[in-house]
Amino acid sequence: MSDTTVQLEVFRYRPDNGGPTYQSYEVPYHDDWVVLDALNYVKNYIDGSLSFRWSCRMGVCGSCGMQVNGEPSLTCAAFLRDHMPGPIRVEPLVNFPVERDLVVDINGFMEKLDHVKPYLVREDDDGDLSAEYVQTPTQLDRYKQFSMCINCMLCYAACPVIGRVDDFIGPAALALAQRYNLDSRDQGKQMRQDVIFQNEGIWECTFVGECSEVCPKHVDPAGAIQQAKLEGAFDYYKRLLTPWARRS
């Protein structure tokens, strides 16, 4: 057992038990421990009533996103040593309704994600699951960066627009829309454009860029949104100047 300890200041909220508070826990410090390890220590040995989400512990599932000292972070990748000597404040992701303690309601995000159809859309889809749609490495390279998203929602917590405009589709969903629009195998671009080109889509983004800063997978959603804006503007003028051309 480590002799050194670190203090966690954990956000507590139980909807049936008054407003939010912060509760302090003294946990052992280990050089290789991340904040999630410390939370699990609290849960297992100090206070079993603490609620939080986690799963893979290796930055893949995107479940354990929380505010660590005010920064949206994956707690499985936030080392205690980077926040020493503490105290380390752990809060639920901002911009999301808090259900209990560190657990947020992600239904709004899931609905937004659904709107942009984040999957391959094929006009010739006849239900044949063995159908193959090949593409070259160059075609893959066009969207690969945007396909690394793990839906951890850190970008939504970092985005000030999300905090003010409820209907804004948001960074991750827009980046995924762009990811599929750039995919040579996809044919659903027009269906997505109707969603992402509306006011609550790409045009709400003011390019603050914090979504890209906090992204643990370097997806650069801000870049994806700006690229979609450029494409949208180009498309608008193309249709304006060539009204006889068929809308592709």
Binding site: R142, G163, Q226
Partner: protein, 131 residues
């Protein structure tokens, strides 16, 4: 009764950390640029009037406080421009004709363009002053 707690960033988002504040300040630089554009349009308007009106307005623009304002506006404009150049690579498509464009190339092109336009303007002003 289950009552989810609202924890949105809200209107004071830009006060939360230094990074947000810098972005807010970057956007606020447009107010200085707008003010300079208005001053310039007024200068053109005064130039169309009698010489006395024009010279009085020109003296106003050269007032020490106005010079400080111009310098602050220039610094903000420069900062906005540079920050815009630095984020441009992520806003542009990563490939042109199937080839990946290095970010340094996009940034370098913009700085080179700015330098070239600045030099041309400087030479033009110097030439007008000499003739």
């Amino acid at each position: 009764m289950n009552r989810p707690l609202d924890r949105r960033l809200g209107w004071t988002w830009w006060t939360r950390n230094g990074s947000y504040f810098r972005i807010f300040l970057r956007e606020a630089t447009s107010a200085f640029i707008l003010a300079e554009v208005v001053l310039f349009m007024l200068l053109i308007h005064k130039a169309g009037q009698d010489a006395e009106t024009y010279l009085a307005y020109r003296d106003f623009l050269w007032h020490p406080l106005m010079v400080v304002f111009h310098l602050v506006a220039f610094a903000f404009a420069l900062w906005h421009t540079i920050s815009f150049f630095l984020i441009a690579p992520s806003a542009l498509p990563s490939q042109v004709a199937g080839r990946r464009i290095p970010a340094a190339f996009i940034m370098g092109q913009q700085f080179a363009g700015l330098a070239a336009v600045t030099l041309l303007l400087f030479l033009w002003v110097a030439w007008v002053g000499a003739t």
